[in-house]
Structure formats: C-alpha cells, structure tokens
C-alpha cells in the first residue's frame, strides 16, 4: 500500500474513533442519575427565574436529540460548555491547565525513556546474570505499584521526614526571587519530586519492552550475519540492534499515553500540581459535569491524535514497513 493511502486510511480511522467518543461522551453524561441543575440549587440561593435562565443557558429544557445537535454545533465552534462551578467557558479552564500537565508529563516521559532504554539495554546485554534478574524484578515491582501510593511514600520520605523538597504545588505563590537563577532553582525544586515519582512509575515498562525487543532483534538473521561479518559487539549494539529495538518503544509511548494521563491524575492529586489531572479531580468532587465532559473529550482526542502521530512515526522509522 502506498504512503498516501495508508495515511488516509489511518486518518479516517482516527476520525471515526473521535466521533464515537463524542457520541459516547454526550450520552454518558445524559444517563447519569439526577438533574445536574440541582447541584446548583442547594448551594446558591437561587430564585425560580434565575433557575430558569440557567436551565436555558445549559439547554436543559430541550429534548435529548436537540441537545445533541446543540452539543455538536457548539463543539465545532470550540464551545465545550460552561462550568457549573466556575461559570466560565470550559475550554478556557482546560487550556489554562494544559502547560502544567505537559511540563510534568513531558519531563517525566523523556526522563523515563532515557533511563528505561539504557537499563533495558544493560539488562538485555547481561541477560541471565544477577544484574538482569534484580533489575527485572525491580521493574516488575515498580510496575505493580499503585501510582498514588508511590507518590505518597515519596512525599513521606522526602518532604515530611527529610524535608529536602517542597510538599507540592508548582512554586511558592507570590514568592520573591533575587535573580533568574534562584527562581529557576526554586522551580526545579518544586518539579523534582513529582517528576521523579512519575518517571519511576513509567521506567519499569520501558525497561521491560526495551529488554525483550533487543533480545528479539539480536536473534534476527541480519544480526547473525553482522556477527559473521565480524562486526564488533559494541558496533552491533549501537549501529544495528538499537535502532530496530527502539521501534516498540515508540509505539509504547503512544499506547502508554492513556496510562500516562491516568498517572498524571494521581500524581497531580497527591502533589497538588495544578494541571489537568487535578482539574479532573476537583471537577469530580464538585460534580462539575461540563468540565468533566470537556476534559474527558479533550484528553481522549489528545490521546487519539498522539496515537495517530506515533503510527506515522513508526511507519517512517521502520525500514520493513516502508515500501
């Protein structure tokens, strides 16, 4: 199949997925028990007239089908609805939180890939030795830990017991810094614990995938040929084995994105990190359905998009897929 046809097919598939998600997203939020507007009643002392206005504003008086149509129309004009809690457009609220989460996820992912790949290579190279076995068990144990629990343990050790890192947040609000470097150091200090915790959680899987992928590549014919030709070990590893073994890692990053988002929710909750995850947590506790709905859609589309990109990247990188 040629590249363009492949691209088109993948794109259409992604588009269909997005539509199914939009559909699910809408109806999921209409089958919930109870009337969302009632969340507003007990709290604010709202008059009957005002209540009616709010109902109109949220389109709650229309039929389901009309509501779906309104929803779709608004969606395509970038309107994800208005937050019950903040009384502001959901998209604005979500966008405000994106940088913090991207920073956290990005740093942690890069860190975990570098360390994970490196360790994976070492373990694969030393297959069967004690280092390999210890490393492998350690990766499996990390992989088995609830993310939030690791985060709590890290806070307990480093922020409560030793007090070398701040407990959470992205910085001290209103703090004064004598120079840019002091500010940067302070920022890094706040970032350190959540990022390291996040990376720890993610490393395990990269180690495992890199190790098994490298082992598989080394068994392939061309590797045997290379060895027969007398290519040195180190050369073989870096020039021949590594690039091919990296392929599954690329796919894993994309597949993992859903898992990473889940991790971010937990890490951000424990560390008070003001990103999308914490927004989701507070929307859950406030039962702020429009925010929850918008956030869910936003995250899902981001993940679908990333998967699509990874597909393309994979095709670009893999010599066997290239026609």
């Amino acid at each position: 199949m040629n590249m363009r046809g492949y691209l088109l097919r993948k794109f259409i598939q992604a588009l269909i997925t997005v539509f199914i998600v939009i559909f699910m997203n809408f109806f999921l939020f209409r089958i919930m028990p109870g009337d969302p507007i009632r969340v507003l009643i007990r709290n604010p002392r709202i008059s009957a007239g005002a209540l009616e206005r709010v109902r109109d504003q949220f389109g709650l008086n229309e039929s389901r089908l009309v509501q779906f149509w309104i929803y779709l129309r608004d969606l395509f004009s970038g309107d994800l609805g208005t937050s019950f809690n903040y009384r502001q457009p959901v998209l604005d609220i979500v966008m405000e939180r994106v940088p913090a989460t991207v920073l956290l996820i990005g740093t942690a992912t890069v860190l975990s890939i570098i360390i994970g790949v490196l360790l994976g290579v070492i373990f694969a190279w030393k297959r069967g030795t004690r280092i390999d076995i210890i490393g492998l068990s350690f990766s499996l144990i990390l992989y088995s830990m609830p993310t939030f629990w690791v985060a709590i343990i890290m806070v307990m050790i480093f922020a409560v017991y030793w007090q070398i890192f701040p407990l959470g947040g992205m910085g001290m609000p209103g703090a004064f810094y004598s120079s840019y470097w002091v500010e940067l150091a302070s920022q890094l200090r706040y970032m350190f614990l959540p990022t390291i915790t996040f990376a720890l959680i993610l490393i395990g899987e990269y180690v495992l995938i890199m190790r098994s992928s490298l082992l598989e590549v080394m068994r392939e014919d061309y590797m045997l040929t290379a060895r027969a030709k007398g290519v040195t070990n180190r050369n073989m590893l870096f020039r021949h084995a590594m690039p091919n073994a990296m392929l599954p890692v690329v796919t894993l990053i994309a597949i993992n994105l859903g898992f990473i988002v889940g991790g971010a929710i937990q890490i951000e909750t424990v560390f008070s990190w003001p990103g999308l995850g914490r927004l989701m947590y507070s929307a859950l506790t406030n039962r702020d359905y429009p925010v929850l709905q918008g956030l869910f859609l936003f995250i899902t589309i981001a993940v679908i998009g990333a998967n699509f990109c990874a597909d393309l990247l994979y095709r670009y990188l893999d010599p066997r897929v290239k026609s």
Partner: protein, 299 residues
C-alpha cells in the same frame, strides 16, 4: 451423538494440554513465587474474615486513635481506633472479589467479542473492531472515573466500570487466535456435517483459545485490582465497605501522612503490590510457557 463426541474430545484435549502445561510451568521460579503469594492471599480472603474481627482499641475506656503498632494491635489503629491488621485481612476479601468479578466481566466481554468478530469476519468484524479500538485508545482512568462518578459510589458500580473498560486487549488477542483456529480442518469438518455457528464457536473454537484466555485473565486481574485501589483512593469507592483502596483513601484524607502514620499507609499498599505482583509474575511465566510469538504478532 457426533457433537457429544466432539465435545468430549475437545475437553480431553484441553485437559491433556493443562497437564503438560503444568509440568513446564512449575520449572519457572517466578511463576511459582507468584502462585505461592496468590495462594496465601486467597486463603486470607477465604478464611480471614471468619478468624478476625475489627475491634476498637481502647485504654481505660478512651479510644486510642491513630495509635502506633503495639502488642495486641500489631499494625496499630486508624482514625476510629480500629485495628488495622484486622482491616487489612478482612479487606482482602472485598478487594480480591472486586478484582476477580471485574476480571470475569472483562474476560466474558472480551472473549465473546473476540470470537464473534474473528469467526464472522467482514462487517461484523469491522464494526466490533472499531469499537474495540475506541476502548483501546480511550485513556482508562479518566473513563473509569467519569463513569464511576456518574453511576455513584457502590461496589457493584466499581466492578461494572472496571469490567466494561478493560476488555479491549483481550478481544484483540482472542480474535487473532480465532482467525487461525477457524481455518483448521476439524472446524471445516464440523461445518461440513452441519454444526451451527454457536455450536462451533462454543465447542471447537473456545477450547482452543482457552489457554490464551487463561493467560490474559491473569494480566487483566492485575489491572483490575490496581484499578479498584485507584478508584477508591480518588473517592469513587463505596465508603461502607472495607477494601485496601478505601483504607488508603481514608488514611490519606484523614491525615496519615502528616501524622507520620506509616503503619496505616504501608500495609494496605504492600498487600496491593504483592497481589498485583503475584499476578504479574504468573502472567510473565505464562508468557514464556505459552508461545509468546503467537501473541506478539497481532498486537
């Protein structure tokens, strides 16, 4: 007559497979460790709740809340003065139950969709696989949280939510195995003698994909138990039930961290890690025992 015979044959095959499988499996030390840990927890969940009772620690009539470990209360007490060790033991039952029930739902959905999709192919396959893709790509935790929040906190809802969101991987694997199984001669033969679709799927295909179902169950169970813990921790659990996740939820929200109450935070967490680890070990061992290439090809 014919079908009864076929049935016996296939299940005899399955039994034979299992026996030879065990002789390979028991040579895998990781798998054995996992199995032993799991057995210990299974026994704990089965008999524990009959052996211990959650008592409140009191000295001279004063309830001892968040008390460090002491004789009689080996893991100390929580914010209500309740015995944490007893809580951990009794919590094992519901924690495992939720995990296993959710796994069962997930496996049933995954298997049915996988077999039906692989068996019928064409439009059925296309539609089912599109839906499967959607479930594969949607980030799990947000989906589970949203559903749990909408349905309300109860044990049944947690099981349902985990089950309904985690079947996609299984469906994919079962489908690809079905595709290869349905080309085999005995399936052709069964079709030739006029066996119905349901019959073929149940008596000929299911026994042949069974080892894969088995291997996958273990991995899904690990995920299900982690999910229960995480959902409960984030406040979506049923507060009237004692589970490890709820214990951690209360510990965190009631201030165990600033209290330095490690005896409250560590034990439930360690139990979760051990159970998940045992499933992961078993899964890893199964992966080596069963042909790993078979599964990797279609992922």
């Amino acid at each position: 007559m014919n079908s009864a015979l076929a049935k016996r044959d296939n299940f005899a095959l399955l039994k034979k497979n299992m026996t030879s499988f065990w002789s390979i499996y028991r040579q895998n030390s990781m798998g054995l460790i996992g199995l032993v840990i799991l057995l210990v927890f299974a026994l704990m969940a089965l008999f524990g709740p009959y052996l211990v009772e959650i008592t409140v620690m009191a000295v001279d009539g004063v309830t001892q809340v968040i008390h460090p470990p002491t004789s009689g209360y080996w893991l100390g007490t929580d914010d209500l003065g309740k015995d944490i060790l007893a809580g951990v033991i009794i919590g094992s039952r519901v924690s495992l139950l939720v995990g296993l029930a959710a796994t069962a739902i997930s496996m049933i959905i995954g298997t049915v969709i996988g077999i039906v999709s692989g068996f019928y192919g064409r439009a059925v396959d296309a539609v089912l696989m599109r839906i499967t893709d959607v479930f594969l790509v949607i980030p799990w935790l947000p989906l589970m949280l949203v559903m749990a929040a909408l349905l309300g906190p109860s044990l049944g809802n947690i099981i349902f939510v985990i089950g309904i969101t985690s079947w996609a991987g299984t469906a994919r694997i079962i489908r690809s195995q079905t595709l290869s199984v349905k080309e085999r001669p005995y399936v052709e033969r069964a079709r030739a003698i006029g066996s119905g679709d349901t019959h073929i799927m149940f008596y000929h295909i299911l026994p042949n994909v069974f080892p894969l179902i088995f291997a996958n169950t273990v991995l899904v169970a690990a995920v299900a138990i982690l999910s229960e813990t995480t959902l409960s921790f984030l406040g979506m659990g049923d507060p009237t039930q004692v589970t490890w996740g709820m214990m951690l939820h209360f510990a965190f929200s009631m201030g165990a961290v600033s209290y330095g109450a490690w005896w409250w935070l560590l034990p439930p967490g360690i139990c979760v890690v051990l159970v998940v680890l045992s499933f992961t070990f078993i899964g890893y061992a199964l992966d080596e025992v069963l042909n790993p290439k078979l599964r990797r090809r279609d992922q």
